[in-house]
């Protein structure tokens, strides 16, 4: 039996959030989605530490703290650095990709144009993390 994941989705675009939620329900998955509209909000949620997510899905292009900065903050935290963080972005910029892997990420997924393709990608991603053993924090 696959695990039910606690997923922190950090995304500022409303429709992207709708897409993710719709995908979860369309695929009839039981994962719990926590939404954060930007890095600051996400940090507030994470610093409570009472209910830390199993994985983080992170958009790179965000206002205020951008994705890469946020990633840096995460990886400097002794507790938070163990949470697998998957980048979800439009940017195929090699520089961004390299920088992210340098800081430390668990995946780098490009957002496709078509919704169907998006659903398919998310399905694979979530099923992968569902079968992974994750650190109990």
């Amino acid at each position: 039996m696959d695990k039910t994941l606690n997923i922190l989705l950090i995304e500022d675009d409303m429709i992207e959030i709708m897409k993710f939620n719709r995908t979860i329900s369309q695929l009839q998955l039981n994962h719990k989605v926590i939404e954060a509209n930007n890095g600051e909000d996400a940090l507030k949620i994470l610093h409570k530490k009472d209910e830390l997510p199993d994985i983080i899905l992170l958009d790179l292009n965000m206002p205020k703290i951008n994705g890469i900065e946020f990633l840096g903050i995460l990886k400097n935290d002794d507790v938070l650095k163990y949470i697998p963080t998957i980048i979800l972005t439009t940017s195929s910029n090699q520089k961004d990709l390299l920088e992210c892997y340098k800081i430390g990420i668990a995946g780098y997924v490009l957002k496709p144009l078509k919704y169907e393709d998006y659903v398919s990608k998310m399905e694979k991603l979530l099923s992968y993390w569902s079968i992974n053993e994750l650190k109990q924090i």
């Binding site: 675009d13 429709i15 709708m18 292009n61 439009t90 910029n93 957002k111 144009l113 078509k114 919704y115």
Partner: protein
């Protein structure tokens, strides 16, 4: 008279007779002595006369053979006697010619000559007197004279002199001085700062340019240590090192930063060389300094500009990515929304609406492709990979194998493709783009695409020839421009060939084409070896 008296008188007489005899004898002896002396005198006179003659002829010989001109004049300047050297110097016809030496003196020199003549008479001699004369043959000469008076019994009777022609000497000296002046002028007027220092690096000489270049006066520099005065603190060690090398005879050029009197820092190109004395010992060094501040500033400016350019290129690249992201995001959202409308209204929408929704999707795809292409175009040339040897034969044969091509089209290689230096991915993109263009535009039942290469001197010339629909002449330039697709279609954004051109330019090549409508098109391009 008494006998006694007679006897006495007789005795006296006898004494007197004896005395006379004795006197006569003495006289006789004296006469003989005199004669002898006279004989001796006559002999010595003859000897003296011979000696005199000998000396006289010796003197005559000296007089004749002396290299310098020798002249004897009376006290009015009339020539009494001259030697051959004097004849030729004064331009006389022969040594017996009557001539007054004063007639030769240039009128402008008369005053000086009169004075020195007076001095000659008063003091008996003159030395080192130079005067310009005009010889008998009207040639102007500068002569040097040493002269003295000849006395007879204490009374001056004539003057003798040795005359030397120093015209040539003066000419040499003059030309030497002219040369010296010339170099002095060059040194003082040249744009290069000149400084001469001794072995202790004490400044001996500077030129005007150096004063202008430093803002110091000559008094402020001469005698001072250049090392302490001129270079900026950071360059002092460098200068000391160079001075040391120069002491060992090394000549070299180097850049140095110096501080002017007013504190302004200037860049100099210093060319230093050791200075030697006549015996070849190093006595110090000479430095020639050229102010290259403006040049240096330009260089620094250029470096800054390049840095800026690199940064602005990076920024542009970054900007292209952000714009592309920002443009793509809404497209994704529209796609999602349209999909949801379709999903949520399944079976409720009529065929026309479904068709329109499908058209929205198609348009979105095209839009996204366009954005991707623009991003690619702007990425060519940035993140430039290092150029490596690319075996085009392997690369393009493989490419052709995996490319989609309809069965009625045959792609052939007429020659083996060479190895070129370049970016592998980009070179593949060039071939892929042109070949797929050819495939796209072949309208014949049996299509051919021939790929060939020709070895030019510094480049390879490639050709890709098809028997497609051809391109009208008026479009030949246009097709390489961005957003100029000739055939509006879903799969062409009109950026492909402009990327190809950009890549070829990066490989220092050119691209052009030959084409005849309905017959076919040949694309040519060159790549640097």
């Amino acid at each position: 008279m008494s006998q006694d008296k007679i006897d006495m008188l007789q005795r006296a007489l006898a004494r007197e007779k004896l005395a006379r005899k004795q006197a006569e004898k003495i006289l006789e002896n004296k006469a003989a002595e005199l004669y002898e002396a006279k004989q001796k005198l006559e002999k010595s006179y003859a000897e003296l006369e011979t000696l005199l003659n000998k000396t006289d002829s010796q003197l005559q010989g000296v007089f004749e053979n002396i290299v310098d001109a020798y002249v004897i004049i009376d006290l009015h300047g009339n020539i009494l006697k001259v030697n051959d050297a004097a004849v030729s110097l004064l331009g006389l016809n022969d040594s017996n010619e009557d001539f007054n030496l004063l007639n030769m003196v240039k009128p402008t020199e008369m005053e000086r000559v009169a004075q020195s003549f007076k001095m000659l008479l008063n003091t008996g001699s003159i030395t080192d007197f130079s005067v310009t004369i005009l010889t008998d043959k009207k040639v102007e000469k500068l002569v040097h004279i040493n002269a003295s008076i000849i006395y007879d019994d204490g009374i001056p009777v004539a003057a003798q002199g040795i005359v030397r022609d120093i015209t040539l000497q003066r000419k040499y000296r003059k030309s030497l001085e002219t040369e010296k002046l010339k170099y002095y002028n060059i040194i003082s007027n040249m744009n290069l700062g000149l400084v001469e220092v001794d072995l202790n690096d004490r400044i001996i000489m500077v030129n005007q340019s150096l004063l202008n270049m430093t803002g110091y006066t000559e008094e402020e520099l001469v005698g001072k240590h250049g090392v302490n005065l001129l270079p900026v603190d950071d360059d002092r060690d460098l200068l000391e090192e160079k001075i040391n090398e120069r002491r060992h005879g090394k000549t070299e050029s180097y850049e140095l930063r110096i501080k002017k009197k007013d504190g302004e820092v200037r860049y100099w190109l210093v060319s230093g060389a050791p200075n030697y004395d006549l015996d070849g010992n190093i006595t110090g060094s000479i430095g020639i300094n050229f102010d290259i501040t403006e040049l240096k500033n330009l260089q620094l400016q250029k470096e800054n500009l390049l840095d800026k350019l690199a940064k602005s290129n990076d920024d542009l690249q970054e900007y292209a990515h952000i714009v592309s992201h920002d443009l793509k995001s809404p497209l994704r959202s529209i796609n999602a929304l349209v999909t949801w409308i379709k999903q949520d209204n399944e079976g409720k929408l009529d065929a026309v609406t479904m068709q329109n929704l499908h058209l929205i999707d198609v348009t979105l795809e095209k839009m996204e492709q366009l954005i991707t292409d623009v991003l690619n175009y702007s990425s060519v040339g940035t993140n430039e990979n290092e150029k490596v040897d690319v075996d085009l034969d392997v690369l393009i044969t493989d490419l052709v194998k995996i490319m989609y091509k309809p069965d009625h089209i045959k792609i052939s290689f007429l020659n083996i493709l060479p190895v070129v230096k370049g970016d592998k991915t980009k070179l593949q993109q060039v071939f892929q783009n042109i070949i797929s263009n050819s495939i796209k535009f072949i309208d014949k039942d049996f299509g051919t695409i021939d790929i060939d290469v020709e070895d030019l001197k510094s480049h390879y010339k490639f050709s890709i020839k098809d028997n497609g629909m051809g391109i009208e002449k008026k479009y030949h330039d246009k097709i390489f421009k961005i957003f100029h697709s000739l055939k509006k279609s879903k799969e062409s954004s009109g950026i492909g060939l402009s990327i190809v051109k950009k890549i070829i330019n990066l490989h220092e090549g050119k691209i052009w084409l030959d084409s005849e409508p309905n017959v076919g098109t040949t694309f040519y391009f060159t790549l640097k070896k």
